[in-house]
Symmetry: C2
Subunit: 433 residues, 2 copies
Amino acid sequence: MRVALLGCGVVGSEVVRLLREQADDLAARVGTPLELAGIAVRRPERVRAGVDPALVTTDAQGLVTRDDVDIVIEVIGGIEPARTLMLEAMKTGKSVVTANKALLAEDGATLFAAAREYGADLYYEASVAGAIPLLRPLRESLVGDHVHRVLGIVNGTTNYILDQMDSAGAGFNEALEEAQSLGYAEADPTADVEGFDAAAKAAILAQLAFHTPVTAADVHREGITEVSAADVAGATGMDCVVKLLAICERVPSDDGRNGRGVSVRVYPAMIPRTHPLASVREAYNAVFVEAESAGSLMFYGAGAGGAPTASAVLGDLVAVARNVVGGTPGPVEVTYAKLPVLPMGETVTRYYIHLDVTDEAGVLAAVAAEFARHEVSIQAVRQVGLGEEAQLVVVTHRAPDAALSAVVEGLRGLDSVREVASVMRVEGEETPR
Amino acid sequence: MRVALLGCGVVGSEVVRLLREQADDLAARVGTPLELAGIAVRRPERVRAGVDPALVTTDAQGLVTRDDVDIVIEVIGGIEPARTLMLEAMKTGKSVVTANKALLAEDGATLFAAAREYGADLYYEASVAGAIPLLRPLRESLVGDHVHRVLGIVNGTTNYILDQMDSAGAGFNEALEEAQSLGYAEADPTADVEGFDAAAKAAILAQLAFHTPVTAADVHREGITEVSAADVAGATGMDCVVKLLAICERVPSDDGRNGRGVSVRVYPAMIPRTHPLASVREAYNAVFVEAESAGSLMFYGAGAGGAPTASAVLGDLVAVARNVVGGTPGPVEVTYAKLPVLPMGETVTRYYIHLDVTDEAGVLAAVAAEFARHEVSIQAVRQVGLGEEAQLVVVTHRAPDAALSAVVEGLRGLDSVREVASVMRVEGEETPR
């Protein structure tokens, strides 16, 4: 069984190492040895410890179409040339293992169609939450169940930052700098802190959980750059913690079953400290799944890094190699449900709103009227401070996001409200069924 | 695709319900409808809501050998007639989905051999930790990795009891009675509280994790009936919590890699409150896996119950049905490693020992000498109380269990030790590699 590797960076070099070090185990598990046929890189002159120079080539196109290659591993990342190379590989009868979340979230449909057309395998466990076995359970173990909601911490960088803000009282910039100095955050942290990375993973998770096509562009996305120390303190006061959540929800219709559509979104939100996700610290990832019969499940582990991601790649590689040995590809993605992705305004959630208010009679009445006007019902109001320092903390019941944000707009226009100091969604309750 | 069901109890009736309610989804995921061909039960006269009486039969043997049956689901449990029926089914070309942990742990080898011989699938996700997708990740996702250790809370009844003892300060008998009144424990709780259930699951997990044959009889087993309120209080004093753990460990040899053997054991032990398993409350299950490349992973969810177990059965059923459609069975268990299961005495662990001692000079010297005699090194000693109430708490470094238990025997013989009040193993640290 001959394997071509596209890319030899942090993940790729770990894949090479594991293929060498675990060669005997892998051969026993597959039933035949796995041999590296070639490694395509952009800069062949860069020294790579443990990599046989004779295998290195810059001709990725030539490598993926070679007759003696059975399986292609793609760990280049990005849209092109990764997409073209993977399509070429499948067209010439090869199966593909990839860690490419950006491509799968942007144009997974093209890849899945090619896999189906050419009878190739396309496995991508490593694309979401690194080594945590998550896609296979969703795709296979829960295939006989009905998933209601997926709630995930799928970005280690932002979890590290928010955890520092929570545990050490750091501000966002300070926590970001620390994450950068420890190598948890890139010099340009945009993809992480603005939620792009999490949104791509949310699209992949939603597609698998709901058997419905979802792309990154469908995902409502808010990052964590606006999260303040005051927000984090407010969460603590509510016995909650702020996490950047990727949320994929089936929205029930009035008559039940398959529902009106799906809601897929990424934003910082408060979750109760008693929620299993609340105890996910540092750069760890975890995904909480609520299913009809299985109930609540959680998958926890390292979400990134060369070795964990390579572990996921190798798990897929063994599965694909066994399928090649057996002569039958594994299950192809089924997106038969074709549920619409609902706009954020129709998503039902809860708000925590912290207001600086003037110290005069009738403030609460004016505030309450604003909620009533948009038919948002209040779960709790708490007054904090007195006189010049008077503050109101309001937590709503569940309501459509459009109504909740209209309330916030209305509150900003009230004379008695000096400032809307903090607004944050509250998540992590049982899905109403 | 026609399916025969053996057994229609708590799990079986949920399987029937899900096959009916999710028929459309299941057909879409498999590519063809799944039809129930028959249900074998012992007492056909018992009314079963939602079950077509025309499908019910007492002739299980006839059902599993029928030509028009493709897949057999076994949820009878126990050794016989389950084993004979599953073997007959495979012999006549059917694939099997089972939740039978007792049989797999006692005689899995016979079943796996039959699956291999007849080219049948044998899937059993539901046998360990209910709906938590755990076996498939171990079997498939981590197949390219190297598992060092599996540490699991795999019995909900005992976790509920220990959680009550920890959080409400209840004694064992009181907590057991509460668990019984809530339906978490059976009237005869032996299988749970004596660790038999957990030991069967440990055998299955060890076999998968280490590709080596392990049966329930190989598992060192201690239950929780001896766990006292004093043990639980002692754990709290150590910032630990007592959990009934199923532990499967690869024991490294001096030269590294595959190791001297495996250690598989079930006993109550202290784990640090910061360990992800420590926060697993009530009757939940969770399994913590440490692998070479993937790092630390945890799988959490409901470990028992009709619906969660049925969800796991249906996940397997869809996988098997897809294999039948594709004409190729899935991967068969590989136990190529054939590592020996080491005796408990050779297992390396740590002890927490709580002693009532006399109030005289030289007590500590006598106690320390006993540890030194067996080459057990002490990590910490703490003296509690004074005079007649003098107590010593000793925590050891890692040492072979035989040496640790020899120390305890020796301490019992000392004049200055009035009583060995509590002995408990301490687990949950990083595996030394």
